[in-house]
């Protein structure tokens, strides 16, 4: 069943390629396949029962490279299931949004379906090499999305994205090899490594964790590894940005909770001060630089650095020791934030794409008073902006509240990051004011309002964010048992 969810998008991608030449067919297949994938994940979620501590649901295992102890091993728990659901939803939104796309729809749809398969595969992977496989393939797929369908200086941005994240993936690979060599018996299997705890009380563990953390931090991205992100986002197509921010960035933070923290707990504890610092700086720096942007898409890109910084902060605090309840709250908040950020930022990037498709620019100075020619667009953007700045009633509030409640409980110093929320609020309000209020000027007059496809896709994401904001219990109940077992593994 789980493998079906991984392989189905791949099969659909092949079908789309076979239908090449007929754009309408490709779009219909894309939409249909992503809808089926949502149904598949819904069935997975409906049948999910919390497995015991360190257990997995829907576990499947096949021989792959037995001589180095690597296999096709997949399974889900409370940390991965929400992200698989997020992936399915984001890709469906992209398929709806791209309904009107005319630019080589067949290869584009195939690429997105390929990316969907790699993302679901990564969140389900229970083997380091399998994880790495999907990690690398997602980079390749996104490179072609940016280079093929982007705009502006797309070749350069795509290359920068590829080189940067590929460097990260190789650091990750070195870390994985270190874990493999440290384990007795040698294996790449994650549950197996979890049992044997390689590199415990071994100073080499610090270095191995260092390699893993650098690899994941580049993908996340945190300061100072974030420089690939703004150009990649600015020049990617709207759906590409939505997938990149909504799903691919989560691969980094998911790697922390799936690999770095449970497999190398003592090294993680030793790294806590550095990680807290990185988290705080990412939160504040991301927010401040976003404040200084006049390009709307770059601004959203930098708020991603800020929002992902909260996750790093929470996970770092969870390793600090002390009150387990607070640390569990922090981890649960971090995973909730992964989902919440995916939904909200996905919607924001899709909305930003609307501006570019109409006016050819993201420059906030080129617009003004947009609320009167495009009221629906203004309303949607305002809702997304309020969701993003963490207003109660949205998923972002649930996530950030837990992150801060848990983190400050464990490491009071993390309160330093609190002004980040204030700055984000300021920058979103300022953007709303500049673009939407006042008399229409610049490129605003006559700008067409949201088309149904655009409204349905972004609206769907925002409705989900509100649902999580109002009824968070089902999501939190899925995540918390996994957070509890992660925190008990970390000890301290």
């Amino acid at each position: 069943m789980l493998s079906l969810a991984i392989l189905f998008p791949l099969a659909a991608a092949a079908a789309v390629l076979m239908s090449a030449g007929r754009g309408g067919m490709a779009r219909a297949l894309f939409l249909g396949a992503t809808a089926v994938e949502v149904v598949l994940t819904a069935i997975l979620w409906a049948g999910y029962r919390t497995p015991g501590p360190d257990g997995l649901a829907y576990e499947e295992r096949l021989r792959w490279i037995p001589n180095v102890g690597s296999s096709y091993h997949v399974g889900v728990d409370g940390l991965s299931l929400p992200l698989i659901g997020l992936t399915a939803v984001i890709f469906l939104a992209c398929a709806v949004y791209d309904w009107g796309a005319r630019d080589r729809p067949a290869p584009r749809a195939a690429l997105f379906l390929f990316l969907e398969a790699t993302s679901v595969g990564l969140f389900a992977a229970q083997d380091l090499i399998l994880f790495f496989l999907f990690f690398d393939l997602s980079i390749v797929g996104m490179y072609f999305v940016i280079a093929g369908w982007g705009h502006g200086d797309k070749a350069r941005s795509a290359l920068k994205f590829f080189l940067y994240t590929f460097l990260g993936s190789l650091a990750l690979l070195l870390g994985f090899i270190g874990l493999y060599l440290g384990g007795a018996p040698h294996t790449f299997d994650i549950p197996e490594l979890l049992r044997t705890q390689p590199l415990r009380d071994n100073p080499a563990g610090l270095w191995v964790l260092g390699a893993v953390v650098v690899g994941l931090a580049i993908k996340t991205p945190t300061v100072p590894f974030h420089t690939w992100l703004p150009p990649a986002h600015t020049d990617a197509p709207a759906t590409g940005s939505a997938v990149l921010a909504g799903v691919l960035l989560k691969m980094g933070t998911y790697g922390f909770v799936r690999i770095a923290m449970p497999l190398l707990p003592d090294a993680w504890r030793a790294w806590v001060p550095a990680l807290v610092a990185v988290g705080v700086v990412s939160v504040l720096y991301g927010a401040l630089v976003a404040l200084a942007q006049s390009d709307l898409k770059r601004m959203i890109a930098y708020t991603s650095v800020n929002h992902m910084g909260y996750i790093v902060l929470a996970l770092a605090a969870a390793g600090a020791g002390g009150n387990p309840a607070a640390r569990e709250t922090a981890v649960t908040g971090a995973v909730t934030q992964m989902v919440s950020h995916g939904l909200i930022t996905g919607a924001l990037f899709l909305l930003a794409g609307v501006l570019h498709s109409r006016a050819g620019t993201y420059d906030m100075g080129a617009f003004g008073g947009l609320a009167s020619p495009a009221p629906r667009f203004a309303a949607f953007f305002a809702v997304a902006a309020f969701a993003s700045l963490g207003l109660p009633g949205f998923s972002g509030f649930i996530a950030e509240f837990q992150i801060f409640a848990g983190s400050i409980g464990a490491v009071p110093l993390t309160a330093l990051a609190l002004p980040g929320i204030l700055i984000t609020a300021a920058l979103f309000l300022r953007a709303l004011q500049r673009v939407f209020t006042g008399e229409p000027r610049g490129k605003s007059p006559g700008l067409a309002d949201l088309r149904p496809a655009e409204a349905w896709s972004t609206g769907g994401l925002l409705v989900l964010s509100v649902l999580i904001g109002l009824i968070p219990a089902p999501l939190l109940d899925t995540i918390s048992p996994a957070s509890a077992s992660l925190v008990s593994l970390l000890g301290g």
């Binding site: 490279i65 001589n67 690597s70 690398d136 393939l137 280079a147 093929g148 290359l159 080189l163 070195l174």
Partner: protein, 468 residues
């Protein structure tokens, strides 16, 4: 073992030799337009040789002719990869070579060079090693220059001069090792060199290794590689950058396994590996000709291939990782050359603009080949890289693994310089204007090679476990 059994154990080699002679004789009697007969003979001989080799792989490790020729996993993999690579090379060259003046001679030379590479991979005696070196080198010089182009002649001369020089070093080194150990057999070297002075062993070893580095296309004997890749015909270039490497690297592995620890050869080989991969990558950056780019890329690949050689015999993963890397590399490199062979007149990277819309399957094959050379899963070279990185680190060379990872990122940069145009729309001023009329046989080889590359990456692990 009786002589008959020894000869039977060498069946794959004998089939190659018989094929070479038969192809040559047949070729001299049939008219030029029917030279395809000798092509069929050559292909048949290689297929038979590969089959015999595959059948022998399952057997127990043994040796022939008083221990001078080892028949084990290393030889088995060498035989198989060499024969299959040569098979692909000949099919790849079908359109290019059909009806040319020296068609059957080309096949003969390919088969003889294959035999040389195979002998190198199995040699367990310095004298057999020298014979294999000569047998692998002399046909290669002729192959590179056989097209009689200006560049081909220059490349052949360069290769010949370097080959002669490093061949002499090889023989000198062998002589020194013989003087120190009193024997030329590898088994004897191990005990004989235990008590020899480290300096003498070192001098002899460096000489022999220098010769083998020429075959492997590694620093310091790598200068012929990019010239041969550019100047020779496509089939000859594909051959020269693939097959000799297999023999040279396996020979180095087998010899070093026997050298005692009185000389710090692991460090020496690790340094060779580090310099080779870095230099090859740096030189590949500036290339605008796809053949030269691939030429330098194969130099850097030789560096990665030397990583498990540096830990030869010290870690269990060393030999399997080397063999998997060799298989993945051969499939990927030949696929890339097959793409060049399908579009032979495109002398610059920009010439590939528009390939993905005009010939999507070619673009897919190119992606698979180049990303495999980078080391992206789930391709053959990824599995190889994973294994050699692990082997090198396990043997204590963690810095080499880290350097190799950095080099991998650097290599991505120039492979993308070829991939990016292929996925760009053709502009009116792109060379060839985006019109692609590929040759038929190289196209088939490219598709088959891409499939093989993926097969090694996905199925290689299970295959490997089955053999172990």
């Amino acid at each position: 073992m009786n002589p008959g059994a020894d000869a039977l154990a060498l069946l794959p080699e004998i089939l190659m030799l018989t094929g070479a002679i038969t192809a040559l004789l047949t070729g001299s009697f049939v008219p030029r337009e029917r030279q395809w007969i000798s092509r069929i003979i050559a292909l048949g001989a290689l297929a038979a040789s590969a089959t015999a080799a595959a059948a022998a792989v399952a057997g127990t490790a043994t040796s022939a002719y008083s221990g001078s020729y080892a028949i084990d996993a290393g030889t088995g993999a060498g035989r198989l990869v060499v024969a299959i690579s040569a098979l692909l090379v000949i099919v790849l060259g079908s359109d290019e070579l059909r009806g040319t003046e020296r068609e059957s001679e080309t096949y003969t030379l390919i088969l003889l060079a294959c035999l040389g590479a195979t002998v190198l991979s199995g040699a367990a005696d310095l004298l057999v090693l020298i014979a294999g070196f000569l047998l692998a080198s002399i046909p290669l010089y002729a192959l590179i220059g056989i097209g009689r182009t200006k560049n081909g002649a220059e490349a052949a001369l360069k290769t010949y001069l370097q080959g002669a020089f490093f061949g002499i070093l090889l023989m000198l080194g062998a002589a020194v090792l013989y003087a120190a150990a009193g024997t030329t057999s590898y088994a004897g070297l191990r005990s004989g060199l235990e008590h020899a002075a480290g300096a003498i062993t070192g001098v002899g070893l460096v000489g022999v290794l220098a010769g083998l580095m020429f075959k492997a296309g590694a620093v310091p004997a790598h200068f012929w590689v990019p010239d041969a890749a550019e100047g020779a015909g496509t089939a000859a270039a594909a051959f020269a950058t693939t097959v000799p490497k297999i023999g040279g690297i396996l020979a180095a592995y087998r010899l070093l396994e026997q050298i005692p620890g009185t000389v710090a050869w692991p460090l020496l080989v690790a340094l060779f590996a580090a310099v080779t991969m870095t230099l090859g990558n740096l030189a590949a950056f500036a290339q605008t000709n796809p053949r030269r780019l691939l030429g330098w890329s194969t130099v850097s690949q030789a560096g990665y291939l030397l990583m498990p050689v540096a830990v030869a015999g010290a870690v269990p993963l060393a030999l399997p990782s080397l063999l998997i890397y060799l298989a993945g590399y051969a499939a990927s490199n030949l696929t890339a050359f097959a793409i060049i062979g399908a579009h032979p007149d495109r002398a610059e990277l920009r010439g590939y603009e528009g390939l993905s819309t005009a010939r999507p399957w070619h673009a897919v094959a190119l992606v698979v080949a180049l990303l495999s050379l980078v080391g992206t899963p789930p391709t053959g070279v990824f599995l190889g890289k994973l294994a050699v990185f692990t082997a090198a680190w396990d043997g204590g060379f963690w810095w080499l693994a880290a350097l190799a990872a950095l080099n991998t990122v650097a290599s991505l940069f120039y492979y993308l310089r070829w991939l990016a145009p292929a996925f760009r729309a053709a502009s009116p001023d792109s060379p060839g204007a985006g019109d692609f009329s590929p040759r038929a046989w190289p196209t088939r080889v490219a598709i088959a090679g891409a499939a093989l590359t993926l097969f090694v990456g996905i199925g290689g692990g299970i295959l490997w476990a089955g053999l172990a």
